[in-house]
Symmetry: C2
Subunit: 558 residues, 2 copies
Amino acid sequence: MGQPSDIEIARAAAKKPIQEIGAKLDIPAEQLLPYGHDKAKVSAGFIAAQAGKPDGKLILVTAINPTPAGEGKTTTTVGLGDGLNRIGKRAVICIREASLGPNFGMKGGAAGGGHAQVVPMEDMNLHFTGDFHAITSAHNLLAAMIDNHIYWGNDLDIDIRRVTWRRVLDMNDRALRQVVTSLGGVANGFPRETGFDITVASEVMAILCLASDLSDLKRRLGDMIVAYRRDKSPVTCRDIGADGAMTVLLKDAMQPNLVQTLENNPAFVHGGPFANIAHGCNSVVATRTALKLADYVVTEAGFGADLGAEKFFDIKCRKAGLKPSCAVIVATCRALKMNGGVAKADLGAENVDAVRAGCANLARHISNVKGFGVPVVVAINHFVTDTDAEIQALKDGVAELGVEAVLCKHWANGSAGIEDLAKRVAELADSGEADFKPLYPDEMPLLDKIETVAKKIYGAGEVVADQSVRNQLKEWEAAGHGSLPVCMAKTQYSFTTDPNVRGAPSGHSIPVREVRLSAGAGFVVAICGEIMTMPGLPSVPAANSITLNANGHIEGLF
Amino acid sequence: MGQPSDIEIARAAAKKPIQEIGAKLDIPAEQLLPYGHDKAKVSAGFIAAQAGKPDGKLILVTAINPTPAGEGKTTTTVGLGDGLNRIGKRAVICIREASLGPNFGMKGGAAGGGHAQVVPMEDMNLHFTGDFHAITSAHNLLAAMIDNHIYWGNDLDIDIRRVTWRRVLDMNDRALRQVVTSLGGVANGFPRETGFDITVASEVMAILCLASDLSDLKRRLGDMIVAYRRDKSPVTCRDIGADGAMTVLLKDAMQPNLVQTLENNPAFVHGGPFANIAHGCNSVVATRTALKLADYVVTEAGFGADLGAEKFFDIKCRKAGLKPSCAVIVATCRALKMNGGVAKADLGAENVDAVRAGCANLARHISNVKGFGVPVVVAINHFVTDTDAEIQALKDGVAELGVEAVLCKHWANGSAGIEDLAKRVAELADSGEADFKPLYPDEMPLLDKIETVAKKIYGAGEVVADQSVRNQLKEWEAAGHGSLPVCMAKTQYSFTTDPNVRGAPSGHSIPVREVRLSAGAGFVVAICGEIMTMPGLPSVPAANSITLNANGHIEGLF
């Protein structure tokens, strides 16, 4: 007898009214803006009123370099939140919102899995509370205003070949990657090449997730660079006059969303920036609010720890003044075997040696996270195919590093399966052991920052960058952007830029193909490999089988 | 001392919790899906459970050919709803949702005006409950799936020059009117010409507003023609396999939105199809639900009665089996003067002769509406510049036709200013005088339907159409679409196709430039003049001055 599917478990959830969930955090019902009976936004007024209160402990959930199926980072985040509540702690989780578009490509979605999920799962994978739609509207308003400015005389003297602001849709639509607009004659403007990205790749998304409040949001939106003149001087969103209207479009989206776990514990689900060209974390507003309302806040960062944890620490925590108390690195026997050299097709078979070999990958991540001054515990996310010998090998491998690895069965058993981890996490977080510091100081030159991440986190021997990239970084430093952190865009599957190189390689080269300035979000993106900002649909998209059945249930989405 | 502005009045409204508004219609709180504290969707389950109940009386509010500022049709609809409640009737109004994009072009928005408004006005002019975003997503998913189908081998043998399905955004963006997509090489598909319309112009919008429930919605979506093969045979949305996923994206949007008037009376605000290439009415689901819950339902149709009322009767009522009991034609002294030959700049000055002359326009509309078997009352929407002599001239002109014209001061005084109209409307609706019949039978040939509307409603002498148009109509008849009603796309300012020809011209020609088949919505569009389906922004867009002020209030949107 197997376990029911994620969607079956989610549909059977005994959800409580969202006002009851809010009450667990002492949020009065009138300060919750409900969206249906099981979702709500927390009002900006209530959030502002929490300012003077002390903060709870912040716990990051990150992971080793994953298999393509993922290692259950969100599932473990949800499970740990439930586990902390189970052992009597006041805990809340903070995770990201799902992007709509990809759900119509591959079956997917889900916020967690098994008995560690956030609900309502279906809404969260569709329109949810409309945040991403608001971001799409705000982003595209700016695009329309740029072309409109050019159309009506171009007083700002924009070079139409150098408009960098593209448009976005929350849709997998490869046909929109590269387009020519304003065809059809005088009434439609000046033809030019441009394209569309998926909404989660928008700088507006990154800004929404980093802004501290609406006035900070507006300032950051205004700072975005949207085009250049022939003399290469930048034109900003503020020059176009779009920052105010964009802020109006985003005012509701800035309020974090409250939902619940299957065990009726509170969960903030807010924001969802790309984890490659952006920082891949849920919003600062949600995290800060959670810290005011709970004693323990469990959050996650996109991809493996080399990308996700590093950006969480060096971008989000640095800029938002957050001090994480503990980090959980999620590992699975499957992923360790893959990092130990086993092919994907053979991951189901026992291979203790491969687990041992794969521990080198885990060891690098442990050492990296410890380097930020944050104590670490490893969560072994249990799969039914794991053998006792493999689990023991993993535990032994980690023990050598002075770190504990705790077996977690939250997928099968909910909070009852993750009590041990919850206890260890609370212990570590309360120990006062943490002494967080970012990897590099603000004043380090941009290229040095890239090299520092590459060498210290990835174990690389060198960074390779063309003179044009180096010159560009120098220009931005001269223009006053030198104190920004760097945001690395690299494959999540390897410490190198080759997704097939597993384990813990060292001495490799990290080529920086291109750099981009996100002046509003506040980071410089270093692109190290192919980065796709507008996905396509597969030959048989999930959309072909998604429908409402006779019971009004959604089929094919999960 | 003048009256406060619309937005000042709206912000001062003493709104009641939406559950209290629902209770007025006996909707239990658990059947309302709240969006914040002042908006809610009525659950599909509750709606289905009302099926056996008797219907209230349906009252249409329409208008004469307007001035560019409009004649206050929505304001009168809202006022009349409040007026009926004031005289002790159980009444509800049904109006359309506002499109987001145009608000960033010209100052605008507003649902009604003065003391006859629906609130929350700001939300209604921004994202509201996300219905239009859902339509945008569903529409663009289909577009992505068409290009994806072609990309992966084009099994349906679509002629890429004959893909008729465009994309949409709820944004005024002229640069997107005509574009070339799929540039950039093999990975991005096959380059082709296409473009974007504004979301309200989507056939999906028209379908959402005409579908009776989710299964009818899915069937209609499936019927939409999206492309043709080289042999000119049609390819439908169902062939692409997108109808199920689109239905899933639209399932929440299909549930009507409940809000309130300034006087705390219930208002359904749902759907918003274009009034030119579509039928311009709020949703059938909202209207039908309202009829089950109230004794009087006041609704409106877009543009003047020649377009709006005709489509309301011949498309919406015909297809939904609705039987209107009474119609209100809104007139203003200003619009009568304009129809009597006065230039826009001179409308503020008294001109009794022009009012008399303009009555010819009103008389044509009265006669047209009566022709559908629906009794008529004229509402004089009072402007402060109106003189007693002008109002008397209007009343006298209408009396000659055996119709009453009632002076209404709801803009200034709310329901207290519109009691007389409310009484007259209730009297007419209760009289049993109505004997609704559409203008033409289903089985009439398509071109004859166009000619019937042109001659009987517009007073035209002839319809002029190229052989290609005539052939196209014949082909659609042969393909089984001959029983559809026609949807006329024409200027709203005149009975002719020239917006400058006012009054009640007759014997003119109506040129049909193009016909389009909306096979899912269920009508054939006859395009008689320039129709813009993607607006642009003006040289100084409203967006430039829209912002949140220090109090968190929106400035510049209204």
